[in-house]
């Protein structure tokens, strides 16, 4: 799938047109409630994190309230310290498989929900199928 021109030329965060972003509190939780809500199946799944495909998202806002971990933000509400997730969502959605059905959260989801600094645990490799 071709990337948008402006992304290829300049990969500064400000130039990425992505409007909904999954952020760090999904890591190691992966509740997947968002999957049920997403009308266009634009979530992609890694071993311990989910991301939104920027081109496929239709900006309906449904996933934001669905996430028990409050991990999803619209770009306009994205806190500055989470800006790096813009690029992560874009990159990982291109290599991870699509997820269309909800599944059980990760085993220690409750324990990890709300823990700060989870980015260091993000596994970027593709999910083994």
């Amino acid at each position: 799938m071709p990337l948008r021109q402006n992304r290829c030329i300049n990969r500064e965060f400000e130039d990425i047109k992505l409007t909904y972003i999954v952020t760090d509190n999904c890591i190691l939780c992966k509740y997947t409630d968002c999957i049920d809500e997403c009308p266009v199946d634009c979530f992609y799944e890694g071993p311990n994190f989910l991301v939104i495909h920027p081109d496929e998202c239709i900006d309906c806002d449904a996933c934001v309230d669905a996430c028990p971990a409050n991990a999803i933000f619209s770009e306009d509400n994205l806190p500055d310290e989470k800006k790096e997730f813009l690029l992560l969502n874009e990159q990982l959605s291109l290599i991870w498989p699509q997820i269309t059905d909800t599944k059980e959260p990760l085993p220690d989801a409750e324990k990890w929900d709300g823990v700060s600094g989870k980015l260091q645990y993000l596994t970027k490799t593709s999910l083994e199928t």
Partner: protein, 476 residues
């Protein structure tokens, strides 16, 4: 979060659903004005809002006149391309402070939520309307589904707050099955509402065409399996992103037709202005095709032709007449002619509803009638099928005629009268084709503009609110 009981598809549905694939779409959507404020939009979009416009909008942010809280701003790349050279489309899709100058209006003008027996279902007329998506690819500023798109609470007449969530397949199939069971047991009429079988469902929202093929296919097959004979899809995607109607979509439809050959599809499309589908030359004029008709945006025409190849699918256009967008007889004439030529029936034109902020959009009723009437002069009979409809609480009402012949002795009568005709009424349509006649008021943008000049009220459009006719007042 509690898990809802899932709908279990039948074998026929499962076999069909296994064949469906989702296409890939890059709508290139811009949501929100923040990107425009910060100059963070592609180069060619930078001037879409002028600096003055942006400053005026920004001033209202966070106030009760906040434009984005009223209706989020959203546009696709395709629609932006059409808007660049069209004032009409710009008015349709660009936020403007005039929207909230006057906040008069109703949150739920048709009182639709009173007719919502199940979350996401409106069952007012003989057909059922379901909300299957809470967004569209782009947002019309005049949208009256504010409660769904901008996520607002609607209080019903009885004081309860209506569930505004989306329809779930299982809930809807259960409702249809139970409704039709009761009808069958009661000799073809529902014991309470006297409705006949529920045969038709309108998939609406939002726009169902923002959903993926698999999701749409689940709805189509579940509704067909439940006995629905006609499924409508209400969509503006032909204007916002016609490439959505791609091979994967039509393959899905063909497989659906194979599985359910007796179920018809009725595409209820939404074009407001010919600029949405016709090409223009550098002077802004439409381009005649050497073999007749005008040149279309190719992908829009291709999509319509694909529908036309399938005899089990009808396409009907419906559009409100909105100030600054299509209150223009010439534009409407061209639109009706070109749509009909290309296989799209002209169904209704609507008077704008009295939504919050409606005064920025609504054309006075008598003027809307006159514009449509003017637009249909010069059209052949089959091109001029569309009627002007205004949605009363009782049902769809036609603005049948506005006379210029004086009707002396009544308020407004010195200029003539307006004749309303009820086209549909709720439940089993007991009042179909009854009329109401009022003295003229050229400023009226809603029924309430005639409260003091009701001459005859067979349809009881006013009586239901205890508004008497002039004769009744005189008799007192």
């Amino acid at each position: 979060m509690t898990r809802k009981e899932k709908y279990v598809p039948s074998a026929t549905e499962s076999t069909f659903l296994a064949t469906v694939t989702n296409g890939k779409y890059d709508r290139d959507i811009i949501t929100g004005l923040k990107k425009f404020f910060e100059g963070n939009v592609p180069q060619d979009m930078q001037g879409f809002y002028s600096e003055e416009e942006l400053a005026a909008i920004l001033e209202l942010d966070g106030t009760e006149r906040d434009l984005q809280a009223r209706m989020p701003v959203k546009i696709t790349r395709h629609y932006f391309e059409r808007a660049k050279t069209s004032k009409a489309i710009q008015t349709l899709v660009k936020a403007s402070p005039k929207e909230t100058y006057d906040l008069d209006g109703a949150e739920d003008p048709g009182k639709q939520m009173t007719y919502s027996p199940v979350e996401g279902l409106i069952h007012k007329y003989e057909l059922g309307l379901i909300y299957v998506a809470a967004t569209c690819s782009a947002h019309c500023r005049f949208c009256y589904r504010e409660e769904l798109i901008a996520k607002k609470d609607i209080t019903r007449e009885d004081g309860t707050v209506a569930p505004k969530g989306l329809a779930q397949i299982k809930d809807i199939v259960d409702y249809i099955t139970e409704h039709n069971r009761l009808v069958k047991e009661n000799d073809g009429r529902h014991p309470e509402t006297s409705r006949e079988f529920l045969r038709e469902i309108l998939m609406s929202g939002g726009d169902p065409m923002v959903l993926g093929n698999k999701n749409i296919a689940q709805w189509l097959s579940a509704l067909a399996q439940a006995g629905i004979e006609n499924i409508r899809i209400g969509t503006k995607e032909l204007a916002f992103y016609p490439k959505r109607f791609d091979e994967t979509f039509f393959s899905m439809l063909d497989a659906f037709h194979e599985a359910y050959p007796r179920t018809n599809l009725r595409m209820m499309v939404h074009f407001n202005h010919p600029d949405e589908f016709l090409l223009t030359d550098p002077d802004g004029d439409y381009i005649p095709h050497p073999n007749g008709g005008l040149e279309w945006v190719p992908e829009t025409r291709t999509a319509i032709q694909e529908f036309g190849r399938r005899p089990w699918i009808n396409i009907d256009n419906q559009s409100p007449i909105i100030a600054g967008i299509n209150d223009d007889a010439d534009a409407l004439r061209i639109m009706q002619r070109e749509l009909k030529r290309n296989g799209v029936e002209n169904h209704y034109f609507f008077c704008g509803r009295d939504i919050v902020g409606h005064k920025a959009f609504n054309v006075p009723i008598e003027r809307a009638w006159s514009i449509l009437n003017e637009s249909q002069k010069g059209l052949s009979g089959v091109e001029a099928h569309a009627r002007l409809s205004i949605t009363h609480y009782k049902g769809k009402t036609e603005v049948a005629a506005v006379t210029n012949t004086p009707f002396p002795g009544v308020k407004g009568g010195e200029n003539g009268v307006v004749i309303f005709k009820l086209l549909r009424s709720a439940a089993d349509a007991p009042d179909r084709c009854k009329v109401t006649i009022v003295g003229r008021n050229e400023e009226a943008i809603w029924f309430s503009g005639y409260d003091d000049r009701v001459i005859l009220d067979e349809a009881e459009l006013y009586a239901m609110y205890d508004i008497p006719t002039l004769n009744a007042i005189a008799a007192e």
